[in-house]
Amino acid sequence: MSCCGTSSARTGPERARGVERKVVFRQRWLPYALLAPQLLITIVFFFWPAAQAVWFAFLRQDAFGIRTTFVGFENFTDLFADPLYLEVVRNTAVFCTGVTILSLGVALLLAALADQQIRAATAYRTLLIWPYAIAPAVAAVLWIFLFHPQIGLIGRALNAAGIAWDYKLNGNQAMLLVILASAWKQVSYNFIFFLAGLQSIPKSVLEAAAIDGARPMRRFWTIIFPLLSPTTFFLIVVNLVYAFFDTFGVIDALTKGGPAKATETLIYRAYVDGRVNLDLGSSSAQSVVLMIIVMMLTMVQFRYVERRVHY
């Protein structure tokens, strides 16, 4: 993690002794100048909007921002007094858990299969990466063509088979559909990481286990899975963040949060309140809540889950 660039690091005896290498700039302004472009981008595009969201969370404004009042914590108290918001929190928990487990599970399965000595393995690998390149709205349209109860291929087949499939009116089916569609989009990403993880596991360890008589399933659970845990851990974080923040495109195109409020998640509600309903105060308050939840989640993961990870 040490810095790169021109340095006046003392070489010679110190280095030879193996003491940690210190990189020191002669001019004090130079490191700041070198960091400035990146810092500027971070401030303008990340800190400034984030600070603005926090500030807006304490205001009530009309859509055009002509009349502004400071309302303190009112946007937050309104939010938590709303039983529908608590329902949205529950939906989000179900949705995020579903997406993460499904996309990780399927990706791991596919990666384990694609890692074997099979014909045209590269072709499979390339094809499996494709869904990641598809825009969420387009992905959703594909899923509509499959699962729409009247015009969808699978939707019609289900109804013909006597299963009353109608995600436009059945909340559980709608939730299942948005989880499937969102997880499917993320499988490719997970697949690449799992595949890379699998390929970096030393073959000798596996061969030794095989010689000892361990069957493939046992080899997988006792050797491969533990050795993959850093990758898995990283992917859990990434997938949860994806499910929290990146899925409103799919939800918007598939169900618009409905039927009733069955598929409304925290990010979707923040989007609708801010952009469609033009209520910036409430939307900002929701963004702040979302920010806090994800910060806590990441902290918990790094503190407790990481302890069990074998690096």
């Binding site: 909340g171 618009k256 009733a260």
Partner: protein
């Protein structure tokens, strides 16, 4: 020597191309709209004709995505101090725009200041009312208007043994037609609806002359309250739930998601926007008819006008706007209100004409005998003098209110709540939206 030829050359260019120098002095007008595909092409064609028709103004149309995208981008641009001159806003955004005070320039004021006279009476009553203040002055410019009408699959009607020369006009006739269609298995679903709130609540309130909200549906003040727990809405909601329970009605989703079910023959009766005509003409492989929406004949014998949908054009202010720019906008508005322009727009896009004169001209030309049903929306919009209940809706947060009603309706269709609970919940949640809007815009 060389220098002289160069100078002479420049002089020659400026002499031979007077248009070039004049073009540089043209006033630029930015026009943001949300009409995609073919409709957007018609906007471009009309703008081009306007630009070619005079020498001082150039209107530049830009497509900005959905109605919601277009509106939020224009608002963001205004907040950043660089808004377009004209922005197209859908009818449910009307109250938000109207409350924007210094951000907008009311059309009547714009016209008066620019010395352009356009009599509000030239616009169809149902169109004019929606975009006027209580004194009847235009606040925004009518642009693309439609209304909700009823679409009937005549092949399915024949198959069910129903007459196709005498089409149903009331809800009770619709119910018995749906029963026959179901009994004869003439279509997978007897009926469906697009735009559940717009058609089954807003249009029904207007047609039956029942208030949707107090204060003349919000026209007379921001302190309006919803009145959808009234007996009429309960009657209609119970009617719809009973249809669904008896397998005569299929819920097709929010907004216009159900549009797909009519042209593919899935639903024999559908309630959709009149703007769906192009799609039905293109996709439907059966005989069909489009007629005004049905009414409950035990509530009224003479249904009022329906309300419009679609969008109007709003003039946004900016610190750097010059009088010449405002005059240019006014000239453009005069151009699109011209009878021949309006007639062309009506025929090309399928939207209703904005002016009475264009409607009469189209009728005199026999356009509606060649295209039967193309005037259903116009007849429905102008069949009565608008009452305070049928003039339109001026409710803040109308988009949110529409979604709330759709959500509660879905809960009722799922069997989770009764019609009375649906209306009570929708009214309570809708009133919270209205109060928040009032507070945000009064402070």
């Amino acid at each position: 020597m060389q220098r002289r030829t160069l100078l002479a050359g420049t002089a020659a260019i400026s002499l031979t191309t007077p248009g070039l120098t004049r073009a540089q002095a043209r006033t630029e007008i930015q026009f943001w709209h949300a009409l995609p595909g073919a409709l957007g092409e018609f906007v471009n064609q009309q703008v081009k004709r306007f630009n070619d028709s005079q020498a001082t103004v150039t209107v530049t149309p830009s497509f900005k995505g959905s109605y919601t995208d277009n509106m939020t981008q224009a608002i963001a641009a205004w907040r950043a101090g660089n808004p377009p001159h004209i922005v197209q806003v859908f009818e449910v955004g009307t109250a938000t725009m109207m409350a924007a005070g210094p951000a907008i320039r009311p059309v009547h004021q714009l016209l008066a200041e620019s010395g352009v006279t356009l009599d509000p009476k030239r616009y169809l009553a149902g169109v004019r009312g929606y975009y006027s203040d209580t004194q009847g002055r235009l606040i925004s410019m009518p642009h693309n208007s439609s209304s909700a009408i009823m679409w009937l699959n005549l092949d399915a009607f024949e198959k069910a043994g129903l007459p196709t020369n005498e089409l149903p006009r009331t809800w009770s006739q619709i119910r018995s037609a749906a029963e026959k269609i179901k009994a004869a298995n003439a279509a997978p679903a007897a009926m469906t609806t697009s735009w559940p709130t717009w058609v089954q609540f807003e249009q029904m309130a207007a047609i039956h002359d029942v208030p949707f909200a107090t204060k003349a549906n919000g026209f007379e003040g921001m302190d309006a309250e919803l009145r959808i727990d009234a007996p009429f809405f309960r009657k209609h909601a119970e009617f719809l739930l009973a249809l669904q329970k008896d397998g005569l009605f299929r819920y097709g989703g929010r907004d216009n998601a159900a549009d797909a079910l009519f042209p593919n023959g899935e639903a024999a009766i559908a309630f959709m926007s009149s703007a769906a005509r192009a799609r039905v003409e293109r996709e439907a492989k059966f005989k069909w008819a489009s007629v005004p929406l049905p009414y409950h004949d035990d509530v009224t014998q003479s249904p009022k006008n329906g309300v419009l949908g679609g969008a109007s054009l709003w003039v946004l202010t900016a610190r750097s706007r010059t009088p010449a720019e405002y005059r240019g906008i006014a000239e453009f508005f005069r151009f699109i209100s011209d009878v021949d322009q309006d007639l062309w727009w009506h025929k090309a896009t399928g939207y209703v004409p904005l002016t009475v004169a264009a409607y009469e001209k189209a009728r005199a030309e026999g356009f509606y005998t060649q295209n039967p049903g193309a005037d259903a929306a116009i007849r429905q919009l102008s069949r009565a003098e608008p009452t305070p209940n049928s003039m339109g809706f001026r409710l803040g947060g109308m988009i949110e209110i529409r979604n709330i009603i759709q959500e509660e309706l879905e809960k009722a269709f799922q069997g989770q709540q009764s019609a009375a609970q649906l209306l009570e919940n929708a009214q309570r949640r809708g009133n919270v939206v209205l109060r928040n809007f009032e507070r945000a815009n009064r402070a």
